[in-house]
Symmetry: C2
């Protein structure tokens, strides 16, 4: 693959940034990749494991001469970072991000950018329950979606280069309007995460069932919730605060529906439950057919989730 | 391994029964294994794939001379089946089941059993999202828990044989009081399943986000919900109806907690969210340490669940 950018700067060195680096090296997508993280400990770890071609002690130095700058910090930290680096961005450079929310990031970043910089907001739908500079790996984005926001301050050419960059990392790219992105993600990601966090909290808090019992028998369904409830706390705090409206809307719908099913249990309306469950099962089939999950049992990972 | 029973009868031939058969053959745990299913189609499939040593057209014939009879039908069908087979059970035989709820099964089964039969209720915490006679496999129970209920109508010797049988299939066995079992499972399995069903239903019902978008971007967290929401509808209807009290109790606690977190989002109480999420993360670590899940990314299965 031919290199898309000569020089890329990664601001923030967690799971996503480190995976961008390793995927970029694997496929030779960029020339020199520089990096910066606020914490000295993270910078030291990055140097030790060879993460980035060059690690700088300030964001200003890291972005100097970069053709593409990617903000890989929690959504709530974007504005601060942009205020710092804006004066040091190269004329004609492209700035992008990996935030899970797009409207709030645009509002935080755009007002502070110089006119000669192209802003192409991005959100790769990829991750694991792990965080930090050592958690990244080259195949994280393979065959996963990266959603870009079509944004007025970017010219077509710079947008196309960001598309090529993400395709070079292994992802499939689509454009989506910012507010619609935030609603879609509230459904497919943000509300499910809050629900998972809640269920795990309830289980832990229940005096009559011990923690060791919850953990021991977690394979009966609960375990699937803990996986997503183990995600990075800071990142998720920022996601909920910055996608408040859409998340609360979906949670409202969820509660309404949950009450309806609870009533069906209470009134022993078996037909209603059976119809509901039959219907949701068909949605699962759709996901498998769309190639977004696999059907085969693998290493105990998708077994023991049904008959309980 | 030496055979535990000369003759075992499986009533109902779905995922669990077929896995019991294959695991039993793999480890030579039982001699002849007979089978019965209500539907002719299931019986024909079983014959075709070699499931069971002998398939009978009636439950009465299948249980004749069996040393162990395992009821592998949905919880709501247990009573009917027992009424049919009770007069044909061998004197001294052991009867067991695989129901996800224990109090309701005991109430449905026990009154109809002859005095010379030992009843040892069981619940293997294992399954997949698939159902039917072709979905079973020999390793389903390996290193998984099987919970037995210590029950008055069973003598110690017959209980111990059921323990050996399940250990022979690969499972770890523990005893638990029936009502406590139902509460623990309400937390670790029944409430999570209803919540997952609900979230999938909401996503599907939401006019402003298309189904194809939900499916396409499901890897962002939603997908983990669909896996458990694809479980067998009849089985789950019966679970909720027969473990009504404990499930509704846990769902009540869940709703209370969810409202509290929703309020934290609405009032932008970031500290509360951060503390909550930090705490739930530690529970996940406990599950991994207890050997009930694995940490490594595998085939895209536990990736892309965090950064969204």
């Amino acid at each position: 693959m031919s290199q898309i950018y000569d020089r890329v700067a990664l601001i923030g060195l967690g799971l996503i940034a480190s995976s961008i680096f390793w995927a970029s090296k694997r496929n030779n997508v960029s020339g020199c990749v520089t990096g910066f993280a606020r914490s000295k400990k993270t910078r030291d770890t990055a140097k030790k494991i060879g993460l980035c071609d060059e690690i700088f002690d300030t964001a200003e130095e890291a972005v100097k001469d970069a053709d593409l700058v990617i903000l890989c910090v929690p959504v709530g930290a974007m504005e601060q970072v942009v205020l710092k680096i804006a004066p040091f961005l190269k004329s004609g450079a492209t700035i992008s991000d990996v935030g899970s929310v797009k409207r709030a990031v645009i509002d935080a970043v755009e007002p502070h950018l110089p006119d000669d910089v192209n802003f192409v907001p991005a959100h790769p739908l990829a991750g694991t329950e792990h965080s930090g500079p050592e958690s990244g790996f080259a195949s994280l984005f393979d065959n996963r979606w990266c959603l870009l926001t079509d944004h007025k301050t970017a010219d077509k050419k710079s947008q196309n280069k960001v598309v090529s960059f993400w395709e070079g990392l292994g992802a499939n790219v689509e454009f989506m309007e910012a507010d619609h992105h935030d609603l879609v993600l509230a459904v497919t990601s943000h509300a499910p995460h809050l629900i998972a966090y809640t269920m795990v909290g309830v289980a832990e808090d229940l005096g009559r069932v011990t923690n060791s019992e919850v953990i021991k028998y977690s394979a009966a369904g609960f375990r699937d919730f803990t996986r997503i409830a183990a995600s990075d706390p800071t990142m998720w705090r920022d996601v909920f605060l910055s996608n408040k409206k859409a998340t609360l809307e979906i949670l409202g719908r969820f509660t309404e529906e949950l009450f309806d099913l609870q009533r069906a249990i209470r009134t022993e309306n078996g037909d209603k439950l059976l119809n509901y469950f039959t219907h949701t099962r068909s949605i699962r089939r759709g996901i498998i057919e769309a190639g977004q999950d696999i059907e085969a049992p693998n290493f105990g990972r998708d077994i023991e989730i049904d008959q309980n």
